[in-house]
Amino acid sequence: MWRKLAIPSILGNLADPLIYVLGLGYGLGSMLPEVGGVPYIAFLAAGMVCSSTMNSATFESMYSAFSRMHVQRTWDAIMNAPIDLDDVVLAELAWAASKSVLSGVAILAVVWMLGLSGSVLSLWVIALLPLIGLTFGALALAVTAMARSYDFFMYYFTLLITPMNLLCGVFFPVEQLPAAFQAIAAFLPLTHAVAIARPLLLGQIPSDAVLHLLVLLAYAAAGFYAATVLFRRRLLK
C-alpha cells in the first residue's frame, strides 16, 4: 500500500547504523582488546542489526503512523471503507515491521560483506528480525496512540530507546554493567533480541533462546493490545 515510500527511507535508515558499525567498530575496535573472544567490530555487528531494526520500527510506528493518523487523517478515510480501526493498527504494525526488517537485512548484508560473520547460523537472524520489528513497532504504536504532537516522541526516545541502546548489550556486554543496571536490562526487550542475534552471528547456538523469544513475543502482544485499546479510546470515542 505504501510501498512507494520505502526505498528513500531505507537508504536513510541504513546510513546511520553503518556509520556506527564502521566508525565505532574499526575506530574503537582498534583500541580495544577482543570482546568475549571476538574482535570488537564482530561483537558490535549483532548489536547494530538489532538496534537499527528497533530504531526503524520505532520511528515508523511513531512519526509515520502519527502523520497518517493525525496530520493527514488517512486513517479516518480508511475507516469510512469497510475496514475497522484494529485492522488499520495491524496494517501500520505490519508496515513498520516490514520496513524495519529491510533495515535489519541491509545491515546484515553489510556485516556479511565485511566478513564479520561467516556462519550459516547467521541466516537465522533474518527470521528473528520480523519479531524484533513487531515488538518495537507495537510498543511504539501504543506511544503514538497517546501522543498529542510529534514532541511527545522525544520522551520515548530519551526515556526508553536511548537507554535500551546503551544498556542492552548493543555496544558492550550487559555483564559489564553494575548489577542494578543488569537487572533493569534483563527486563528490556532489546536485551533479549541481542541475546539471540549475537550468538547466531558468531556461529553459536543461543542459550535460553525460547525464553528470549517469549519475552519478545510478550512485549509484542502487550504493545499491540495496548495500542488497539488506546487508539480506540482516542479515535472512536
Binding site: 515510500l5 493527514q72 478515510a77 475507516m79 469510512n80 475497522d84
Partner: protein, 303 residues
Amino acid sequence: MAVLAAHNLRKFYGGAEVVAGVSFGIQAGECFGLLGPNGAGKTTTLRLCLGLTDPDGGSVELMKRPVPGEARPARARVGVVPQMDNLDPDFTVSENLLVYGRYFGLSERAIRARIPQLLDFAGLTARAASQIQTLSGGMKRRLTLARALINDPDLIFMDEPTTGLDPQARHLIWERLKQLLAGGKTIVLTTHFMEEAERLCARLAIMDRGRFITEGSPRELILRHIEPHVIEAHGDGVMDWTDHEARKLASRLEKSGDTVFCYAADPTPLLASLANRGELRYLHRPANLEDVFLKLTGRELRD
C-alpha cells in the same frame, strides 16, 4: 425502502449531550439535508450512522444492517465525503482512487477500469497524474467526491461538501450531486448553505443542540415557520422607524447589527410607511429557508 434508520440516538461527550435523541429514516433515492449551526451535532450524527463511534443510546440500521454491530459490511455499500479532506498526499490523483478502491476489496483491474469515468465525473481527467498538494480546494473536494463513489455506493454521506469553495466550484458540485440523484443514488448531506439545501434536498431537518427541531421539505418549513414576506431595512434613523412604526406593522421583527428584518403576512403597510422615509434603504423579498433557520436557531454565534 429505508436505507438508513436511526432511532432515538444519543451521544455524550464529557457530560454534554451532543446528540440528544435523534430519530429519522432515509428512503432509497432521496436527498436528505441536515442543517444546523456549528456544533449542533451533525458530524457526530453521521459518525454514529457509520458505526465510527458507539452511541450512548438508541439504534441505527444502515443498509438493513444493525450498526455498529455490522457496520463493516454496511459501509461496503456506502460512500463518504468527510467534512475535512483527507486525501493521501503521498499519492497522485488516480493513485488515491486506486488505493481507496483497494480498501473496499475491489480488484486492481476493476478499479482501473472505473477510474477514467470517475475522473471525468470530477473533471480531473487532465490531472490524473498530479500530486494532491498541487490541486486547488475545489479539485480536492471533487476528488474526494469521486473517491466516495469508487465502490459504486447506494448511499452517500456528504459532510459539508461545498464549504470553502467558490461559487463556480459549488455549482459544479451541485450539478454532480443532481446527476447522482438522477442516477438513483441516495444522499445524506449536511450543509451551512441554505441555497444548497433548497436546491438539492427534498427533505430537511434542522438540528440544534443535538436535537432535530424541525423536519420537512424546504417549502413546508417556510410555510410552517415563517411569514411569507420579509423587509430588510437599514440606514440612519432605522431604529427610530422601527420603534415608532415597524413594530406596529410587522408581525415579527429581528435586529441584526444596523439592519432590521420585518416579517409580515401583508407587506403593504410596511412598504407604505417606508415610502415616507426617504433616508432608509430597504429590500423586500419572499421569506426563505435562511429566515426559518435563523428564527429557529437564533442569530447569536455558536462555538
